[in-house]
């Protein structure tokens, strides 16, 4: 089955050479993705993913690989399905009753949507940072220690202390909060809160981190700090980031995937996508003609 998919995906180059589709034709017919949606060392493989909210289809036949230790940016206009796609990767869509996911999503070659797969275990391996900073109404320490505590990752208090310090340091927050670890996490500034949420996520030591527009609620300085942090984190983690800001995608990611109306239009090296997009829709979006 995988082979058939790969054959199918080998075609897009031809399609694009045949001439760019108009936007109108996109609404009616299935279009193959142009560029290189697949890669050799894939951490996550998604095949023929369709997502429905009740009767409405939000994602159409997405085939995309996420390589190990890469930062991949998902861009596209509002409502294009990039957040929905992101949430299928750690089954956060399970919490929405009317949401249905079809297709295969493999993490290290294992399907995460089988009955056998436990979403709790999956979310420990695939962490998530949300659009709006959402620290728990607890102390800074307890925010970071919560994940390790529920998963039983440390054996005693001093190990937990070390893990909290390490996570906060990695998130670039430790110097700012080391004297007030028992102050409430909700009392920090927006940018600090978001870094706290990142520290909380990396304390569980996941393999993949999903970021849903992590800087959209922050000012430029806080945003710059988050971006810097993403650049450091990519050494240890695979990162999938959804963003509205094309500059941000250009700054932090190696690959970029462009979504449009629930379809994956184009995937490629970030440089190539932003300097020389293949698909007409990608080009229009990049140059700011819609979105």
């Amino acid at each position: 089955m995988n082979e058939a998919v790969l054959n199918d995906l080998a075609e897009p180059k031809n399609t694009s050479q045949a001439g760019p589709e108009t936007e109108a034709s996109l609404n009616i017919e299935y279009t193959n993705t142009v560029g290189q949606p697949l890669c050799d060392e894939a951490k996550i493989q998604t095949r023929d993913v369709n997502v429905f909210y009740a009767e409405n289809q939000a994602i159409h036949n997405v085939n995309l690989d996420i390589g190990a230790h890469e930062v991949i940016a998902l861009i596209g206009p509002s409502g294009c399905g990039k957040s929905t796609y992101l949430r299928t990767l750690n089954r956060m869509n399970d919490t929405i009753d009317i949401c249905r996911v079809q297709g295969q999503i493999l993490l290290d070659g294992e399907d995460i949507y089988t009955k056998k797969q436990d979403p709790v275990l999956l979310r420990a391996r695939v962490g998530m940072v949300f659009q709006k900073p959402n620290p728990f109404p607890k102390s800074i320490y307890d925010n970071v220690a919560y994940g390790p505590r529920i998963h039983g990752l440390t054996r005693n208090k001093s190990e937990l202390d070390d893990l909290v310090e390490e996570s906060l340091t990695k998130a670039g927050l430790f110097q700012e909060v080391k004297d007030r670890l028992d102050a409430p996490g909700t009392g920090l500034s927006g940018g600090q809160q978001q870094r706290l949420c990142i520290a909380r996520t990396i304390a569980v030591q996941p393999e993949v981190i999903l970021m849903d527009e992590p800087a959209s609620a922050l000012d430029p300085i806080a945003t710059a700090k988050i971006e810097e942090l993403i650049n450091e984190l990519k050494q240890n983690f695979t990162i999938v980031i959804v963003t509205h800001s094309m500059q941000q995608a250009a700054r932090v990611s190696q690959r970029t995937a462009y979504f449009h109306m629930g379809r994956l239009i184009e995937v490629g090296e970030t440089d190539q996508i932003f300097t020389n997009p293949t698909h007409e829709l990608t080009e229009k979006y990049i140059t700011g003609r819609f979105g």
Binding site: N90, M92, T95, D97, V120, L121, L122, R123, A124, G127, M128, F130, K132, N134, P135, F136, P137, K138, Y146, G147, I150, H151, P184, T186, C197, R200, T201, V204
Partner: protein, 424 residues
């Protein structure tokens, strides 16, 4: 005319409307406060006499022969002894010349029926008093109390007056000799109900209310919170759950007396639980408070931001952990407020308790949840229904006690809400 002129023209009318609305709002608040003040002042002034008790100071000789006990009497002997005669002798000594049987009865009714028990308790506490002559402040009868406090007008013609001329004369003699005094009425807070107004206390009703509320809280709080959590967080969205939700809302609107009938039929007749007991009262009231607490808890849980749930789930917390570590603590202020409002409702509830026999006349102070007892609002009802003048003040005083508990509970609700909200 340009736009500026048009807007200017309409301004006057708009401001007038605003002023009218503000005035109406202010008026309604002022009238509400006024009515509340009238009500409270009325209750307060009527209740005041109940908080003081008139005493008659008499010199009594505790002659063992008159009392009818021998040397070194046991407690049982003293319990059976006749202390009434000592008091009667003392009164007869003070007002010689009263010989007619009817007049004697009038004279002896100057002190309360409780006076002999007062004396008995004193002697049991200190048997050495036997044989001595001592000065004792005896509780006065409610008629004497009424005369002293002015509730019975001394200037009325004798035919219109409850206390006749002869008795009034005795009272005035006692007053002149300084034997009549008033003091704070501790008795009211330390004894149970009585047929005699001066001996009636509120302690039985307070304890009954307390036991009833304890049972109500212990039953309704865990059940209601568990139901609210299940319905909000775990229940599938289907018709059966919708049906349950609608019925919970309906249950909140069922007249409370229906719950009383249910309690009578099911708990007393079918399960043979004791009649008039706080246990059954508590069960019935918890049926009544359940929907209130469930509805309040559900809206509190619903108000917890979804981002908090996502944060926990995103870290790999299970659904149960998400609910108990994050959702419940965040919803707790709302849940507690709802619970205390429900409990305050239960405290003031009368009708269902009438059905299960808590309206009985009970003198003994309940010692547990299975002892027969009454509750504060029913005590108010019982006293309001009594013809004796002294019960008028007692009724208002009982209302004050009830209001005090309600205000205290609301204060606790506000305190708890503030305390748990601080964590945010």
């Amino acid at each position: 005319m340009n736009n500026t002129d048009l807007v200017r023209k309409s301004l006057k009318k708009r401001y007038l409307k605003e002023r009218i609305f503000k005035t109406v709002g202010l008026l309604s608040i002022v009238s509400a406060i006024l009515f509340l003040l009238i009500l409270l002042t009325d209750i307060f002034t009527k209740a005041m006499p109940a908080f003081s008790q008139t005493n008659i100071s008499l010199e009594v000789t505790l002659d063992p022969d008159v009392i009818g006990v021998g040397e070194n009497p046991s407690e049982q002997d003293l319990m059976a002894a006749d202390f009434r005669r000592v008091i009667r002798n003392s009164l007869a000594d003070q007002f010689p010349g009263v010989t007619k049987r009817k007049e004697k009865r009038e004279l002896y009714s100057l002190t309360s029926m409780g006076a002999e028990f007062q004396l008995r308790d004193m002697v049991i506490a200190d048997p050495a008093l036997l044989g001595q002559t001592i000065q004792v402040e005896f509780m006065a009868d409610d008629d004497v109390d009424a005369v002293i406090k002015g509730a019975i007008d001394r200037n009325l013609p004798e035919s219109d007056r409850r206390v006749k001329d002869q008795k009034l004369g005795w009272i005035e003699t006692l007053e002149e000799s300084g034997q009549i005094s008033e003091q704070f009425n501790w008795w009211f807070f330390t004894s149970g109900d009585s047929r005699e107004p001066e001996m009636a206390g509120i302690k039985g009703a307070i304890k009954g209310s307390l036991f009833t509320l304890l049972v109500t809280l212990a039953l309704s709080f865990p059940v209601a919170v568990a139901a609210a959590i299940y319905l909000e967080e775990f229940a599938p969205k289907n018709r059966f759950i919708d049906f349950i939700e609608i019925n919970i809302n309906n249950l909140a609107a069922v007249p409370s007396i229906v719950f009383g009938l249910l309690g009578l039929a099911v708990f007393i007749n079918f399960f043979s639980l004791p009649r008039s007991a706080p246990l059954v009262g508590g069960i019935v009231l918890s049926l009544m408070t359940l929907p209130t607490i469930i509805i309040a808890s559900r809206s509190a849980i619903k108000a917890v931001p979804p981002s908090l749930r996502e944060a926990a789930l995103g870290l790999g917390a299970s659904k149960m952990q998400t609910v108990f570590h994050h959702v419940l603590p965040a919803a707790l202020p709302g849940i507690l407020t709802g619970t205390i409002i429900g409990m305050a409702q239960a405290l003031g509830e009368t009708a269902p308790l009438l059905m299960i026999g808590m309206v009985a006349f009970i003198v003994d102070i309940p010692q547990g949840i299975t002892d027969p007892s009454t509750v504060l609002p029913i005590q108010v009802y019982l006293w309001a229904d009594s013809p004796e003048r002294g019960f008028l003040a007692k009724t208002s005083a009982a209302i004050m006690v009830l209001l005090f508990f309600l205000i205290a509970m609301n204060a606790i609700a506000i305190y708890l809400r503030k305390k748990f909200e601080k964590k945010w």
